[in-house]
Structures are given as C-alpha cells and as structure tokens.
C-alpha cells in the first residue's frame, strides 16, 4: 500500500464534503430588510365618517377588545375637518390610514394593475367552476390591501395558482399605500397600516406567544411548510416587521386572523421575536442546517459523518 494512495482517500473525502456542501447553503438566515413607511396626513376629501369607533364597526376584523388593531385604542388621531380617523393605536403599535392625497394615484394604479381581476369597483368576481374567486376588496381596510401588494403577492403573477407567492412585487411601498388608500375610500374600514414599536417589545413573551399561536403552521423555526391541498405556510425569514403585524391582524388567505385574542402589546412581542430570533437565529453550535431539524441532522450525520468515517475505515483496513 503506497502513501500516494492516501491522497485518493483525501480526495474522496473532499468530494463527499463538496457534495454535501449544498446543505451548507441552507444554513444561516437570509438578511431581513425592514422597511417601514407610513404616511400621515390630515387632509381629506371623502364623505364624513363616524368620528370614533363604535360597536357597529365597519371592519371585517371586528373586536370589542381595546388596543387590538381597531380604533378603540389608547390614542386616536382624527382629521379636524372631516372627523375621520387618520391614525390610532397605543405605545406598542400605531396604525395609520393612508392619506387621501394618494387617492388619485391609487385609483390610477388600481385600474392598471388590479381591475382586470378584481373589477373596476373592487368588488371582485365570484368563484365559478374550477377557478377561485377574485375576492371582493371593499371594506377590508388598508392593511389588507397593503399587505398583499407590499409582500409582492399582488398583482398576482399566476392568478390561477392556489396560493400566491411572496416576491419583490411590481409596485413600490408608496404605490401600494396609494392603492390601499383608494380601495379603502370605497368603504372606509380598519385596520390601518401598522408601525410596531419594537423598542418596548418583550422578546421572551413573543417567543411563548409564537410557540402557542404561530408555530403550528409556520414551524417553531419560522421556515413554513406545506399544508392541505397545495396551500402552504410561508417562511418568515424575509418578512419586514410591519407586514408581520398586518398578517396577524388581517389573516390573509388561509391564515386565521388574530383580533381580540391578541392585543397590540402581544402582537408587538411576536413581531420582535420574528424579526430577531427567527430572522437572525442564534446558532452558537455551528451551521444551523436551515433549521430543518432532525431530518437535516440525520442527513448530515449519516451521509457526511458516517460516510467520511467509513471512508477512513476504508483506508485503515485492507481491500482483500
């Protein structure tokens, strides 16, 4: 047995390591970008609205619980002339109704990008045959519209898909808010576009709430997974903070909505947990293997670990 044959084993081992290296690509979080833009304005041109929230709310997301995403919160700002609520919230989350100065832009953008599916009056097209409904957008509040557009799911790249996919999106943040402003103006409702105040959030409480409410679909690592009938819970590794609030409060698609069962402080805690621990996981032990758990660990342990050890055993022993 010659020494140079040792190089063969080193080379073979290197091949195994290189072959397993795609797994390393799964490791580590991708960077999260948290852009939060809100617009506040106090001018309005719409018809007069009830000055303050009342129990006969116009929101689909109704709840009587204080500080839960509707104007029955600690702070409410109204427009002096029309009395419409322009922003509300508490020290944890502030919700803004987009300014009416955006209405014209919004209408134009809506007609260009959305009306072909959702109709020129935004009241949608009902389900027929095998195609799903293009939903009615009226009365859903600005946060709903803003979430779907800013997460890149709308305008839909594939309208016939079972579930739209997060992407970079066609419209910018300002354009999304303009569209949200216009659609909201058809039947003003809530919740508004949120801005969470992560400084006062408690990440430990967020972890506990996340485990109880969110991990069942999104997994405890926040990677998401396939659900029934070609639906899926998306990964949370790439979502900005305000979109987490929007998703929780409005329950997009198959996601349930959390209105009165979580107040703003709790939602704020969850957002802090998602944007810190999930998007920047603490992996002191080495490569995180994508947070896929024992499946990935088994693969690495068997293929890489046992494979390399068996290869060394091949060197230690004889061939015959």
């Amino acid at each position: 047995m010659k020494i140079s044959s040792l190089k063969r084993y080193v080379a073979a081992g290197a091949v195994v390591v290189v072959a397993a290296s795609p797994l390393l690509l799964l490791a580590g979080p991708s960077s999260a970008d948290s852009t939060t833009t809100t617009s506040t304005s106090t001018t309005t041109t719409t018809a007069p609205l009830p000055t303050l929230y009342s129990s006969s709310t116009k929101s689909v997301y109704n709840t009587n619980r204080q500080n839960s995403g509707l104007p029955n919160s600690d702070n409410v700002t109204t427009d002096p002339t029309s009395g419409a609520v322009t922003s509300y919230g508490d020290s944890a989350i502030t919700y803004n109704i987009p300014s009416s100065s955006l209405l014209n832009t919004g209408e134009e953008l809506y007609m260009q990008n959305c009306a072909s599916c959702h109709g020129t009056e935004a009241n949608g097209v009902p389900a027929s045959g095998t195609s799903g409904a293009f939903p009615n957008l009226v009365g859903l509040g600005p946060a709903t519209i803003d979430f779907w557009i800013e997460s890149g799911r709308m305008p839909a790249a594939n309208p016939r898909a079972v579930q739209a996919v997060r992407g970079t999106g066609k419209l910018s943040s300002e354009q999304a808010q303009a569209v949200a402003a216009w659609v909201n103006s058809l039947d003003p409702s809530y919740p508004g576009i949120p801005t969470p105040n992560l400084k006062i959030a408690n990440v430990s409480n967020g972890a506990a709430l996340f485990a109880l409410n969110c991990a069942a679909c999104h997994t405890i690592e926040g990677d998401g997974d396939a659900l029934a009938s070609s639906t899926y819970a998306p990964s949370l590794r790439n979502i900005p903070a305000f979109q987490v609030v929007e998703a929780i409060r409005t329950g997009p698609g198959n996601m349930p909505r959390f209105t009165g069962n979580l107040d703003d402080y709790q939602v704020n805690d969850i957002v802090k947990y998602v944007t810190t621990e999930i998007q920047h996981p603490n992996n002191p032990g080495g490569f995180g293997l994508g947070g896929l758990g024992p499946v990935a660990e088994g693969f690495v342990g068997l293929a890489l670990g046992l494979g390399l050890l068996a290869l060394v055993g091949f060197w230690v022993g004889e061939r015959e």
Binding site: M1, K2, I3, L6, S55, S59, V60, Y61, N62, T63, N64, R65, L212, N213, A215, A216, C217, L227, A228, S229, T231, G251, G253, N254, M255, P256, R257, F258, T259, G260, N261, P284, G285, G286, W315, V316
Partner: protein
C-alpha cells in the same frame, strides 16, 4: 519491479527471523513516513495546546471543537499510519481451533447434568415441584413492586376533562373569552378557567375556539345550540396520537394536525377527511352567558384524544 515484488504467504508469528519480509514495514520509504507521522503528531499537539488556550479565554464552541477535534484527529491519523505503514506488515496467520470440546468432555458434562441432576429430581419430586412453584410465584409477585408501584390505575381518568357545566373559556393568560372578542376566521386556544396553568389543563382540557360565522352555527344534528354566534369549540387533542391540532386554515375551513397531517373538516363536527386520524375531534358545547362570556354547557360527550382499549 522493486524488491517488494515477491510472494508473501501468510506465516505464523512465532519462529520468524528478524529479517523476514513479513516483519518489515509496509512503507517503501519508512523515514519519509516517519517524518510525516511526526508532523501529524506535532500538529495535533499544537492544536491541543491551542484548545487549552481557547478554553482559558472562553472561546466560542466552534473554536473549542475545531482545536480539540483537529488535535485528536491528527493523533489518530498518525497512529493509524504508524500501524499501517511502519509496523510488521504480515500477513500473519493463526489456526482456528475447534471450538467444541472433545467428545469425552461433552459426555462428561452431559453425564453430570443428566445423571447427577436427574438423580436429585427423581428422588425429591415433591420438593422440586414446591420450589419451582414457589419461585414462579415469586417472579410474578416481584412484578408488583416493579410495575404496580410506578403509578395509579387509570380507572376513569381518561374519560373526563375538567370542563364542567358553566366553565368559563379562558386563554393562556387567564383572560375570559367574550363574544365580542373574535372576528370571523379567528382561532384561540382556551382552557377551563382555573386550569390554564395546570398540567392536566394544558394536556387534556386544551380546546380551540374558532369563530366560523357571526350567527349560530350547527355542525350536525343535535348540536344546534353548541356553537352560539358562530363560536365553534373542538378538543385540541388529535384523535390519532394526541398532538395539539393548532393549525387552522380559515378558507379551506379545515384543522390540520401538524404531526401526521390528519385533516378535520370544521364544518361538520371535525370529521377526519384525510390522514391517519380515525375519529372526529370531540366538540365542546358552548353557550354565551348574560355578560357575553363564552362558557361550556357541559363536558365533552366522549373521551378526548387518542384511542385506547377501554374507550367505548
């Protein structure tokens, strides 16, 4: 060809002359191999020293691991190479001896067991029987402290939960759920009031309330009053293996168990439509009291959770 190109049959270890080719190292250039092994050992020593330093300065786990692991690995490689290339390369041979003993020895043993043993048993059958029976009884009796002392008898424990008529439904923080709290499409995990922080409360009483509509909802015949104002309550324990069924898809109106993907249709009494779960999730009958709080009418009408023998 080199001087190694010769026939080497396996030889036995004893009686070899010191310059026998079987005792020579396998390496063609032992000095070079020795140098390489020395480098390997030295590098291992250096890594172990670095490990000690890393430990003292409280370095990150990966530093500790790389130094410790690298050091040990290099020692190992060096030692293996030493054994493989520098030690007598053989091959050596050794006879296998018959494992079995000689016929006489076997006969002697059989004789001892059968004749000696048999003479004892034959003559004292009653004693043998009593002893055997007694030891058998003891081995059964020994099961008592070994097994029975471990825990209580199940009795009827699995048949009931802590939901009583009038129990308030509270969330994990202890806050009572009010009829104005949830919007349609919401889900919340609830427990009977007072039990939200107990083991049994969390493990057995856990229930999900889904607001499926703004009006009273009927899942099946006989349950018309069970879901007031569209508040629908099901046991959260999957009937397959007891995982909490916390996954609700509000448009498909299906509860999916995250463990083995059993799917329960929320509209018709949580009937399983897919996956290994055999029975629907038991439904908790709710009512809304005068102050608007959600309360249970009574306990579940069947045992919650996975199946077991006594489950009728």
């Amino acid at each position: 060809m080199s001087e190694n190109h010769e026939h080497r049959t396996p030889v036995s270890l004893s009686g070899l002359s010191p310059d026998d080719p079987h005792l020579q190292p396998a390496a063609r250039n032992p000095r070079l191999v020795e140098r390489n092994i020395a480098i390997s050992f030295l590098a291992g020593i250096i890594l172990i020293v670095v490990f000690v330093y890393a430990y003292i300065i409280n370095a990150k786990p990966w530093t500790l691991g790389i130094t410790l692991g690298g050091g040990l690995t290099l020692f190992g490689i060096g030692l293996i190479a030493w054994g493989k290339y520098l030690m007598p390369r053989g091959p050596f041979v050794e006879e296998r001896h018959k494992l079995a003993s000689s016929d006489e020895a076997r006969e002697a043993m059989a004789n001892a067991v059968v004749v000696r043993g048999g003479s004892v048993i034959k003559r004292r059958k009653m004693l043998g029987g009593l002893l055997g029976g007694g030891l058998g009884l003891f081995s059964l009796a020994a099961l008592l402290p070994l097994l029975r002392s471990l825990g209580p008898l199940p009795k009827q424990t699995l048949d009931h939960t802590d939901w009583k008529p009038g129990s308030y439904a509270v969330d994990i923080t202890g806050r009572r759920v009010h009829q104005d709290d949830l919007a349609v499409g919401s889900i919340v995990t609830v427990f009977p009031e007072g039990f939200e922080n107990t083991d049994n409360g969390q493990a057995v009483d856990q229930t999900v309330i889904i607001r499926i509509s703004n009006n009273d909802f009927t899942t099946m015949k006989g349950r018309e009053s069970w879901a007031p104002k569209g508040y629908l309550a099901y046991s959260k324990l999957c009937t397959h293996l007891g995982c909490p069924v916390g996954l609700y898809e509000q448009q498909l109106q299906v509860l999916v168990c995250p463990c083995h993907q059993s799917m329960f249709n929320v509209n018709d009494g949580a009937m399983p439509t897919f996956g290994p779960a055999p029975r629907p999730l038991p439904q908790l009958p709710l009512y809304i009291d005068a102050s608007g709080y959600l309360r249970a009418q009574k306990d579940f009408d069947q045992p919650v959770g996975p199946g077991f023998w006594e489950r009728s």
